[in-house]
């Protein structure tokens, strides 16, 4: 069987000593930043991205992916023990997880969160392996019009489904596209928006934008905010869930995994959407909904499975179509590009070790996380005692070194400072920066495909609606826009955002 052989091949890649080591570093760093509120996977991956240049592409991607899903595990630890979401994905886990901890059942809550996440991670990994090859097969037939429409759909959906103001997110996508085309025009070589600055002819560096906005900008905004960092740690006594706990958790884990996988492939829906819908479903299905909010283990099991399944399935569109559906995936795409790999459906055929190695490493990484998290819970919690005033100078140091190491250019450091200020401004004005990053990554590709499509069709824009696949993407795009304008859904969305 093909799938079986491919997975074996993947495990052979992932189990090499080097890749295992990078996987371990990834999940370790991921757990750490997951536990710590105030620093998320986006900033961390942006910061560490440049350091991976000297590493083989497979190892680099394995490590960056490990940071991402490791953060989901770490986030739940903080949510359960301290009632603070370490990551946005674990906001819902706070509700019942912390109540369980207060009742002296922190151990079972942590164990169920880990078991649920592991199960969801396993399913997510399998889904990528199953869905990846056929999707890539279809995508190989895409021409320029299909790619343009696909990117349009991805960007619009990402902006609209993301948390925050819809119009502002759409505007950020457009702004990102504009920033993305700074530099020499590919077709004519004409420098655009470079203001005569030599360094800008190659475009604005991806790392500069990502680190500037997501690390530096966040820091400026965090310093101003209040620091909600009281640690009132619950003691973890026994870890093992009872038979009753396991029986109650089985259904929620299965349903949470299904929900998370579904939301995972949708652009823009962050892990918070997946975990929240899982929570609502479990509450609705429960015999006694009043238990929720008072330490119901279902309220931990379902959402934790959902957010991990979501995190894994976000890789499907990125790996098979080259379409990033979230900020972190935009970073992964950037990592591939910087390594000299053109993202898209060809990756699977040309670099099978990358695709299958990454998938296998995710399963191994999930296993490591279970082992790493449960016995070491005490260590992670003690990390929470590190105050932010010691944390952010460290982030600044790693950011600066990271940016400088890309081109050994002080100029890029200055640009990052500028983007830090911009990022802060955007946060203050209520613009979420993640859609900008998606636009920024896709900007050049989108323009290129638009121009090629128009050349192909001899200037006839109907090419986008006469080719069936492209038409499909356009219809979905319009549908999403129309649906979101509908007042009823808009209200519901605002409710969820609260």
């Amino acid at each position: 069987m093909d799938l079986f052989n491919n997975l074996i091949f993947g495990f052979a890649v992932a189990l090499s000593l080097q890749n295992l080591l990078y996987c371990f570093i990834g999940v370790l760093v991921g757990t750490l930043i997951g536990v710590l509120p105030g620093i998320g996977p986006l900033a961390t991956i942006a910061m560490l991205l440049p350091i991976t240049f000297n590493v083989a592409p497979v190892a680099a991607l394995i490590m960056l992916a490990g940071i991402y899903y490791g953060a989901q595990y770490g986030g739940s630890t903080t949510a359960i023990l301290v009632n603070l979401p370490g990551e946005t994905s674990s906001v819902v886990t706070c509700i019942d997880g912390y109540q369980m901890a207060r009742q002296g059942r922190a151990g079972p809550a942590l164990a169920i969160a880990a078991i649920g996440s592991f199960f969801a991670g396993t399913v997510g990994t399998l889904l990528i392996a199953l869905a990846g090859p056929p999707l890539a097969e279809v995508a190989l037939k895409f021409g320029a019009p299909e790619y343009f429409s696909l990117m349009l759909m991805g960007l619009v959906a990402a902006a609209i489904l993301a948390q925050g103001d819809m119009v502002k997110s759409l505007a950020m996508v457009a702004l990102g596209l504009l920033l993305g085309i700074v530099g020499n025009d590919v077709n004519t070589g004409l420098p655009r928006f470079t203001f005569g600055i030599n360094e800008l002819t190659d475009g604005i560096g991806f790392v500069v934008v990502a680190v500037g906005v997501f690390a530096v900008g966040e820091i400026i905004s965090n310093i101003g905010g209040s620091e909600p960092r009281e640690v009132f740690t619950a003691k973890v006594t026994h870890l093992y869930p009872t038979r009753d706990d396991l029986r109650r958790s089985l259904g929620p884990i299965l349903r949470g995994t299904a929900l998370g996988s579904f939301f995972g492939v949708l652009p823009g829906t962050g892990p918070a959407v997946a975990s929240l819908s899982s929570y609502l479903v479990e509450k609705k299905l429960a015999d006694d909904p009043s238990r929720f909010g008072r330490g119901a283990i279902e309220g931990v099991a379902g959402p934790e499975a959902a957010n991990n399944a979501d995190a894994q399935c976000k890789f499907i569109p990125m790996l098979t179509l080259g379409l990033p559906v979230s900020g972190v995936m935009a970073l992964m795409l950037g990592a591939l590009t910087i390594q000299g790999i053109q993202p898209g459906p060809e990756v699977m055929a040309q670099r099978p070790e990358l695709f299958w190695g990454l998938i296998a490493s995710m399963w191994i990484g999930n296993l490591m996380l279970v082992v790493l998290n449960l016995p070491l819970v005490g260590v992670w919690v003690s990390m929470l005692k590190v105050p932010y005033r010691l944390l952010f100078p460290a982030i600044m140091a790693f950011s600066a070194i990271g940016i400088y190491s890309v081109n050994n250019s002080a100029y890029e450091i200055y640009m990052a400072a500028l983007f830090g200020v911009l990022g802060f401004l955007w946060i203050k004005l209520g613009f979420s920066p993640a859609p900008m990053l998606l636009g920024f990554v896709l900007g050049p590709m989108m323009e290129e495909n638009l121009r090629r499509a128009m050349l192909m069709s001899r200037g006839d824009p109907s090419v986008f609606v006469t080719r069936p696949i492209s038409l499909g993407f356009i219809i979905v795009t319009v549908l999403i826009l129309v649906l979101m304008m509908a007042p009823a859904i808009r209200k519901g969305r605002e409710k969820v955002a609260e």
Binding site: M396, Y404, A410, G430, M454
Partner: protein, 149 residues
């Protein structure tokens, strides 16, 4: 009653209009081309117009009602954090890795609400040592630890 001068949406809209207009004006120097053969000016002009449209909508919405920009931000951080990053850029080429890093760490620490000198010095020493070990010796980045002395 929230005033237009503190409105998030209004200022957000103004920002978008400014960027959009600038993009369109600058892109006028680039050949626009035709729909068949799009010139380098085509895409940016369209994007600039789109930004203006979003900006106008937001500004109008903000003029009616909008959340106010929250006051919990630190002007100190807004100045010192980017400034210490710029200093890092200036120093790393001229003075070397260690001075640039120390200035960055102490500088950005000064942006925070609390600044305890002893603690910050300790942090600077420990963090710089860590970075030298990991990045220079471990990963082999080719930067002089001290330069120009």
């Amino acid at each position: 009653m929230p005033s237009i001068l503190t409105s998030k949406d209004f200022w957000g809209g103004v920002m978008l209009i400014a960027i959009g207009v600038a993009a369109v004006v600058i892109a006028r120097d680039y050949p626009f081309g035709t729909a068949l053969r799009m010139g380098p000016g085509y895409f940016p002009t369209v994007l600039g117009a789109v930004l203006c449209a979003f900006g106008l909508y937001l500004a109008a919405r903000g003029a009616r009602s909008s959340d106010a920009i929250s006051g919990d931000w630190s002007p100190r951080a807004l100045i010192i954090v980017p400034l210490s990053l710029v200093l890092f850029g200036v120093l790393i080429d001229r003075a070397g890795f260690i001075p640039a890093l120390v200035v960055l760490i102490i500088g950005s620490s000064a942006a925070g609400k609390e600044f305890r000198l002893g603690e910050v010095v300790l942090l600077a020493v420990a963090l710089t040592l860590f970075c030298v070990v990991v990045f220079i010796w471990g990963l082999g980045l080719p930067y002089p630890l001290l330069a120009g002395f």
